[in-house]
């Protein structure tokens, strides 16, 4: 088990290096120097040279990459070119806010998805299956930014149930601050619910058709112990998808955060794009992608822990 975990960890290293190369390279797909876009065209050559030296753009490309990578490994992403504050501080605050949303949405979406998927597989072809399958299909094809707008329309415009956007003031009582979470969390949970629900249904149906389930029932096991056996067999693929989905929630909440004006990493990325704030942009993408890789690594190890057959 430990060798498997170590081997997987080693395999993640080249991927992470590749990710850092892509993130660094992305900035250079645009012709021109990042500094040129920031300074007015009439800036004197001395000012340009000074700015380049400050942000390290005067060195050759590979040196820039190595320096950037070395600093990034130490958690130093430099200064934002927009407001000259450390990038890491901004990113950390934004990531915390995104984490709150992602974790809550994952818990809600995954649990609903598992319940829906299980029930529709066990009632295959009957009405619960049809209803849940319809909900799941809607869930996976929903443009979540539109769903966010519709929810705001229903709960904040037509009725006055919940706040439309923002995170609420620090001074507000907890109960009122929680209200700000409801709409974004519900919106974000719909896609994971649909995706997980569909996979659970398909996996459980597949397992139900296998001989060992019949054998367990024939042996005299009652309903719940059989379901426990099914759940254990269905866990690895579902777990893998959950990891992916959680990564999407972390890295893909940018549209929903924009609608709800939630001060998370997606919002930060959006601002960085429009301000052409390259250091913030690079740092945000690099950190989110690293999370994604590590998450998949964790899922692989968890899968192997559940199912020894995976540890080849």
């Amino acid at each position: 088990m430990l060798t498997f975990a170590l081997r997987r960890l080693l395999q993640a290293v080249p991927i992470l290096l590749g990710v850092s190369l892509v993130v660094f390279g992305l900035v250079h797909i645009v012709p021109g120097n990042p500094i040129d876009m920031l300074l007015p065209p009439e800036a004197s050559p001395e000012v340009i040279a000074q700015m380049k030296a400050t942000f390290g753009f005067d060195k050759p490309l590979y040196m820039q990459y190595l320096l950037w990578l070395l600093r990034a490994l130490q958690g130093d992403f430099g200064l934002s070119v927009f407001n000259a504050t450390p990038v890491w501080g901004q990113l950390l605050a934004a990531l915390q806010n995104t984490f709150i949303l992602a974790v809550l949405a994952a818990v809600l979406g995954f649990s609903l998805g598992i319940v829906f998927g299980m029930v529709s597989a066990l009632y295959h072809g009957r009405w619960p299956d049809k209803v849940f399958s319809a909900i799941a299909t809607v869930g996976v094809s929903l443009p979540h930014y539109w769903c966010a707008i519709v929810l705001v329309m229903l709960c904040a415009v037509l009725h006055d149930w919940l706040p439309a956007q923002g995170m609420g003031d620090d001074q507000l009582p907890l109960y009122e601050r929680l209200q700000y979470l409801v709409l974004p969390v519900v919106t974000l949970s719909l896609i994971p619910m649909g995706v997980i629900g569909r996979l659970v249904r398909a996996t459980v149906l597949d397992i139900l058709g296998q001989d060992f389930v019949g054998a367990l029932s024939a042996k005299g096991l009652t309903r719940w112990p059989v379901i426990r056996h099914i759940a254990k067999n269905a866990a690895p693929p579902v777990l893998a998808l959950m990891g992916l989905q959680f990564g999407y929630l972390l890295g893909g909440s940018i549209l929903v955060e924009t609608v709800f004006n939630w001060p998370g990493s997606g919002n930060l990325l959006n601002l960085a794009i429009f301000r052409r704030d390259i250091p913030v942009l690079q740092a945000t993408i690099l950190v989110l992608a690293t999370f994604f890789v590590l998450l998949n690594l964790l899922v692989d190890i968890a899968q192997a822990a559940i199912d020894p057959r995976i540890r080849r």
Partner: protein, 301 residues
């Protein structure tokens, strides 16, 4: 052989005479036609295609000119049955014309990734070896980014515009396309009759053309259809963020964004462009589901 397979998969099998023992693609076609949901969503998609491509036939308004006096009229206004937008343009007209760019921005990236990714995947799957490993490991790196994050990053850096949004999404869709085609090609390559063909001296190109492609194109096309559903949501999402299509062009995501401010005045009108995105995406999703289950031999005993 592969030609027949290719045709019957796209069109209905009406042109193919029923024989006592129908071929694989004929029976797939028959199952698709019998599947009410798939046929219904296909009809809806044709309807959407008709109102977008034939927009001048279903509306006589100009999508770019509105009257300031007729701003944000509700649904059911005389002359504007779906109301008007924030500058007084007829919303039904904007929705019809807007579908052109929305569909283009969604289908083109998938087509590009189908060609590039399909080629790379089939090559990596059939040839294997160092080249195959190199392709697959490079794709792994792109897999490390959540798709929307990569699309936004590329599009944000290239600058807004329809072509940049198409490039960004194509880059995002190539890795999964490569992976799917590589997997099915590897499976097909190891089938017994491919081995037999190779043993009997068929050239590599002929094997790929007649045996591998015939087995691989179906699953790849089904996957591409399901990607279109994702692509519609993502490309409209890019425009929604202000990264894709630029005003005053009509596009569903962009319209949704510019009508967002009007949600307190005309909530129902403001939600309509999103409804179109949702409807189109769901139809492609269900169509892909229908084709997949029609092609699954195990499910259709």
């Amino acid at each position: 052989m592969s030609d027949i397979a290719f045709d019957s998969r796209i069109a209905s099998p009406a042109g193919i005479p029923a024989s006592p023992a129908p071929g694989y693609w004929t029976s797939v076609g028959q199952r698709v036609v019998r599947d009410k949901v798939t046929m219904a969503v296909t009809l809806v998609l044709f309807a959407i295609l008709f109102i977008t491509i034939g927009a001048p036939l279903v509306t006589h308004y100009d999508p770019y000119h509105g009257s300031v006096l007729a701003r944000l009229k509700p649904i059911g206004t005389a002359g504007h049955w779906l109301g008007t937008d924030e500058t007084g343009r007829d919303l039904w007209t904007r929705l019809c014309y807007g579908g052109r760019l929305s569909l283009l921005a969604a289908i083109l990236p998938v087509t590009i990734s189908l060609i590039v990714g399909g080629f790379l995947g089939i090559f990596a799957g059939y040839a294997g070896g160092i080249a195959g490993t190199l392709i697959m490991r490079t794709m792994d790196v792109f897999y490390a980014f959540p798709s929307i994050l990569l699309a936004i990053a590329i599009c944000g850096l290239l600058g807004n515009g329809l072509s940049n949004s198409i490039i960004a999404l194509a880059v995002v869709f190539i890795p999964p396309m490569v992976r799917v085609s590589e997997t099915v090609t590897t499976q097909a390559r190891n089938l017994d009759f491919v081995e037999a063909a190779r043993a009997s001296g068929t050239t590599t190109l002929q094997i790929i053309r007649y045996h591998v492609l015939a087995n691989v194109l179906g699953p790849i096309m089904v996957y591409a259809t399901s990607l279109i559903s994702v692509s519609i949501i993502l490309s409209a999402g890019l425009s929604f963020l202000g990264l894709g299509v630029t005003p005053p062009q009509a596009e569903w995501g962009l319209m949704l964004n510019s009508l967002r401010q009007a949600i307190y005045v005309q909530p129902y009108v403001a939600a309509l462009p999103g409804l179109m995105i949702f409807l189109t995406s769901m139809c492609f999703n269900l169509m892909s589901d229908g084709f997949r289950s029609a092609m699954d031999v195990r499910l259709n005993k």
